[in-house]
Amino acid sequence: MSGTFNKRLAIVWLILSAMTLVYVWLDVAVDQNGTLKASTVVTVSAIIIALVKVRIIFREFMEVRHAPALLRRLTDAWVVLMAVCLLGSYFIGSALAS
C-alpha cells in the first residue's frame, strides 16, 4: 500500500521538476545573444505553468485530492482567481502602457 503511494509522490515530483526545466528552455529560447527580449508568449506560458504547478501541489502534495468538496472547489477557485489577477494585470498593464 505504502509502496504505491510513494511511487505516486515520486512521479508528482518528477513532473513538477520537468515543468521547472521547461522554464530553462523558455528562457534560452527567447533571448538573442544574451539580450533579454519582451515576449507575451513567454510571460503567459510562465504564469500558466506556475499555476498548473500550484494546482498539482494543492492536489497531490497537500492531499486536497482526498479532501471534502468544499476545499477542492475553494483551492481550484483560488488558482482561477490567481490566474485572473496575474494575466489581468499583465494585459491591462500592457493596454495602459501602449
Binding site: W13, L36, S39, I47, V54, F61, A67, A97
Partner: protein
C-alpha cells in the same frame, strides 16, 4: 431484502464520507488562502509596474542567475516531496521513516536558505541592491519576504519533529498542519520564480 440493500448502500456512503478529510487543521487552510491572496496582490503590482518600465526590468533581469532560481525551485520541490512522504509514513505508523523525512525536509530547506544568501551576495557584489532600481526592489522584497516564510517554516518543522519524536504525542493532525504550511512556502516560490526569472 430491500432493507438490507439500503442499509449496505448507506453504509458505503458513510464510509466514502469518512474517507474524505481535510488535511491538517482548517485554520491553517484559512491562513494558506489568505497568504496566497496577499502574494497575488503583490504579484499584480509587480506585473503592472513591470510593463510600465519594460526595458529597465529586462536589463536588470539579465543580471539574475537562472541557475540559482532553478536550483532553489528543485530543492524546494524535493523538500515538499519529503514532507508529503513524512505525512504518509506517520499516517501508517512508520514514525522512524516519518522522522527521517522530516529531517530531510529541514535539510533541503537549509540548502535553499544557503543558496538564497549566496545569490544575494552575488547580486550585491554586482552592485544590485534594494535601492538600485524598481526591479531589484521587487526582487529583494519578494525573495526576503519569502525567506521569512521559510524561516517560520523551520519552527513549524520543529513542531512536526517534536510531535513525531515521542510516542506520547504523535498527533497526525498537527503533522499534516505543519506539512500544509511547508507546501505553501513551496508553491509561493514556484510563482515567485516564474515572475522574477522567467517572465519577459
Amino acid at each position: 431484502m430491500t432493507n438490507l440493500q439500503e442499509d449496505s448502500s448507506t453504509e458505503q456512503v458513510d464510509r466514502k464520507a469518512a474517507a474524505r478529510f481535510v488535511p491538517g487543521q482548517p485554520d491553517m487552510w484559512v491562513f494558506v488562502l489568505f497568504e496566497s491572496l496577499l502574494f497575488t496582490g503583490y504579484f499584480s503590482v509587480y506585473l503592472i509596474g513591470r510593463i510600465q518600465n519594460r526595458d529597465l526590468y529586462l536589463q536588470s533581469q539579465a543580471d539574475l542567475d537562472l541557475r540559482f532560481g532553478v536550483f532553489n525551485t528543485i530543492v524546494l520541490l524535493l523538500s515538499s516531496w519529503a514532507i508529503a512522504r513524512c505525512v504518509q509514513a506517520s499516517r501508517e505508523g512508520a514514525y522512524r521513516d516519518a522522522l527521517r523525512d522530516a529531517f530531510l525536509t529541514i535539510g533541503f530547506g537549509v540548502a535553499f536558505l544557503v543558496s538564497k544568501v549566496l545569490e544575494w551576495v552575488k547580486e550585491i557584489r554586482l552592485g544590485n541592491t534594494f535601492t538600485s532600481n524598481e526591479f531589484f526592489q521587487h526582487f529583494f522584497f519578494l525573495t526576503s519576504i519569502h525567506l521569512l516564510h521559510l524561516l517560520i517554516g523551520f519552527i513549524v518543522l520543529g513542531v512536526a519533529v517534536y510531535q513525531l519524536w515521542s510516542p506520547a504525542r504523535r498527533s497526525q493532525q498537527l503533522v499534516e498542519t505543519c506539512a500544509t504550511y511547508w507546501h505553501t512556502v513551496d508553491f509561493l516560490w514556484a510563482l515567485i520564480f516564474a515572475l522574477l526569472y522567467v517572465v519577459r
